[in-house]
């Protein structure tokens, strides 16, 4: 209902494959192993939470999954494309087409109204203005904000803002939705609302990856991956 990927949900196609993926940072004369030989698969319609204490590497993993960063070594295949070997502009294109981001701090542009915020990815995809507006309005209706499309973020509540951000993440029909602590700045009731939206998105066939450190949030998902010291500590499907 919330997205159109549902028709292909029956096939459990693997859309992300990571093999011996490493990310090292040089800190002075020390090498920090933020991710150390990670092997991971995500299948279509997976609904996953990535958990771990701070410093466990979950942010680094999120950045690499979101093509915001590239691994030091290893392979990362997204929809059959080797992302690890791409340059900046190719990565930008992948982010635009394949990934929908939802951030803890929402990251809406305050001077743009909801509609303009939601249509941003479509500008970078080269979609014509009329179609952009139409699709953005449609996406806002889907997250329950059909009556707020001309409002600016400052005129909305935290939960509403996050729903705008979710609409923006959905607008370009991405392969995965990547949510980094999406309820981190929200109260319990609103968090529950937002998680229900993710649940519905998952039911509609979307592939969702959540980063969180809250157990109760993680339990909305069907798979929990725990990281510690750059390694996978556990990977459980429920």
């Amino acid at each position: 209902m919330l997205n159109s990927k549902s028709d292909s949900a029956v096939t459990e196609r693997t859309i992300i494959t990571m093999k011996s993926l490493c990310k090292f940072y040089e800190m002075g004369d020390q090498t920090v192993k933020a991710l150390d030989s990670i092997n991971l698969d995500f299948r279509l319609n997976d609904y996953t939470a990535i958990m771990g204490p701070s410093g466990s590497g979950k942010s680094t993993l999120m950045n690499i999954l979101g093509c915001l960063d590239t691994p030091t070594s290893g392979t990362y295949e997204l929809n059959g494309q080797n992302v690890a070997a791409m340059d900046d502009d190719e990565l930008a294109q992948i982010r635009n087409k394949e990934i929908g981001f939802v951030f803890q701090t929402f990251n809406l542009l305050p001077r743009l109204n909801c509609l303009r915020n939601v249509e941003l990815p479509l500008i970078y995809a080269g979609v014509a203005p009329e179609e952009r507006e139409e699709r953005a309005a449609e996406a806002l209706v889907k997250v329950g904000l059909g009556d707020r499309i001309r409002h600016k973020p400052a005129e909305l509540s935290g939960g509403q803002i996050q729903r705008v951000a979710i609409a923006r993440a959905l607008i370009n029909k991405p392969s995965i939705i990547l949510a980094d602590e999406p309820t981190g700045n929200l109260d319990t009731a609103t968090s529950h609302d937002i998680m229900n939206i993710f649940g519905a998105l998952s039911d509609a066939g979307n592939t969702i990856i959540l980063i969180t450190h809250e157990e109760d949030i993680a339990h909305y998902t069907r798979r929990i991956i725990r990281l510690r010291d750059g390694k996978i500590e556990s990977d459980e499907r429920q």
């Binding site: 960063d69 500008i123 203005p129």
Partner: protein, 421 residues
């Protein structure tokens, strides 16, 4: 339309909107930033306007002298101020005019048309009743003078050949003389006194304006040559005005005239000329260094202010990049490529410069109109080229000053930028 150009168009539209928004949202800051460019463009356009004006004023003045007239004189115009070089030359005789005319008429292929002699003084005084004008330019010449000079009559007529040979005591006066001596009455028929000799006014010239803002043809009294000599004697400054056929054949005309003069003076081939053939271009070549000096100083000042302006814009664009780090990160996360971000900040700095440039132009235009209103004789001229040039300079300043910050922005790491507080 292919995806690439379509995307480029939409991204550019978005960047333009964003730039306008940024400028509107930070009005004071944008104004202060643009100030350097405003000052620079005002300097550029003012300088250009002044040079244009000087040029135009000069051309207007030269047109008064006549483009198709050269002057045979004792000294050269192009080396004015070196009178000692010409001191020992023999005086120019008024008889040369008739002799030159005879030689011309015997040569059907001559480039020359007519020679007219004149004697003149800048130190004449003209009186009418109790009114007195000093520093009047008195000129004695023939009835053919008008064929070699510009100037129309608003009243009366020029003197005739009969009046010329009869040395009649009559005069044709410039507009300033007419209004100076006869402010409330028509000048025609009145008698003007030059050194206590009475000259009857038979014609008044139309106002011509000043030559180079110094000498004015409106300040002249033209009388028959014989009458002039009766008043001022034969020692006054003498020239032969020679009109030639074709402005483009000035060199040939000068060469022919030089040959005739050498023949008249019987100068042996191995000796230098003891006269000069002057043309209005000589003035122009004297003016060029002044004009270049103004231009050079102007370019320097303009360059400095634009440079300072550019640094200001660069600085503020760097601040803007810093302030909007998260926005840059977000845009990149949503699919903006490097060039998209680069373009966005470039457009912003170019827009500030362009607004500054247009403001500067407007200020200059206002100044120009004000000056033209208050001091109509001041030569001033705004040209289309100047407008194009200053807008081009604004855009280039915008690109130059915005490039470094824009490149910095485009290279920002998206993951770090998103986390930037």
């Amino acid at each position: 339309m292919n995806l690439f150009s379509q995307r480029f168009r939409y991204e550019t539209t978005e960047s333009l909107k964003m730039a306008l928004f940024q400028i509107k949202a930070n009005k004071v800051r944008s104004f202060l930033t643009a100030l350097g460019v405003i000052i620079g463009i005002v300097a550029i356009t003012m300088m250009g306007t002044a040079i244009n004006g000087i040029d135009r004023g000069f051309d207007k003045s030269l047109a008064m002298l006549g483009y198709d007239v050269v002057y045979v004189q004792k000294s050269s115009w192009s080396t004015m101020g070196q009178w000692w070089r010409y001191r020992n030359r023999p005086d120019i005789k008024t008889e040369y005019a008739g002799q030159i005319n005879r030689i011309i008429s015997n040569n059907p292929r001559s480039e020359l048309v007519l020679a007219v002699a004149q004697r003149s003084t800048y130190q004449a005084s003209a009186q009418y009743r109790d009114r007195n004008l000093d520093q009047v330019f008195a000129l004695g010449t023939s009835h053919e003078y008008l064929q070699t000079a510009s100037g129309e009559l608003t009243a009366g007529r020029f003197f005739t050949g009969g009046e010329f040979s009869g040395n009649n005591m009559i005069c044709v006066i410039g507009d300033d003389i007419a209004s100076g001596l006869f402010p409330d009455e028509p000048a025609l028929g009145k008698e003007v006194k030059l050194k206590n000799r009475k000259f009857r006014v038979i014609g008044v010239f139309k106002k011509q304006g000043k030559f180079l803002g110094l000498f004015s043809f409106d300040n002249q009294i033209i009388v028959p040559l014989g009458a002039f000599e009766r008043v001022y004697g034969k020692d006054m400054f003498t020239s032969i005005r020679v009109k030639f056929k074709d402005q483009t054949h000035i060199e040939e005309a000068k060469a022919e005239l030089t040959g005739i003069m050498r023949q008249l003076r019987k100068i042996p081939p191995d000796e230098d000329d003891d006269f000069s053939v002057n043309e209005q271009r000589a003035f122009k070549s004297q003016l060029d260094p002044i004009k270049n000096g103004i231009a050079l100083a102007g370019i320097f000042i303009t360059g400095m202010s634009l440079f300072v302006g550019a640094i200001g814009i660069m600085n503020i664009t760097f601040v803007s990049v810093k302030e909007r780090t998260r926005e840059i990160g977000l845009r990149k996360a949503l699919g903006a490529r490097r060039q998209t971000i680069l373009l966005q900040f470039l457009i912003e700095s170019v827009m500030i410069c362009l607004i500054g440039g247009i403001t500067g132009l407007a200020i200059t235009l206002l100044f120009t109109f004000a000056i033209a209103r208050l001091v109509p004789s001041f030569p001033i001229q705004v040209s289309f080229d100047l407008i194009v040039a200053s807008l081009t300079v604004s855009v280039i300043t915008g690109i130059v000053s915005g490039l470094a910050p824009a490149v910095t922005a485009s290279k920002l790491d998206p993951a770090d930028s998103l986390r930037y507080e």
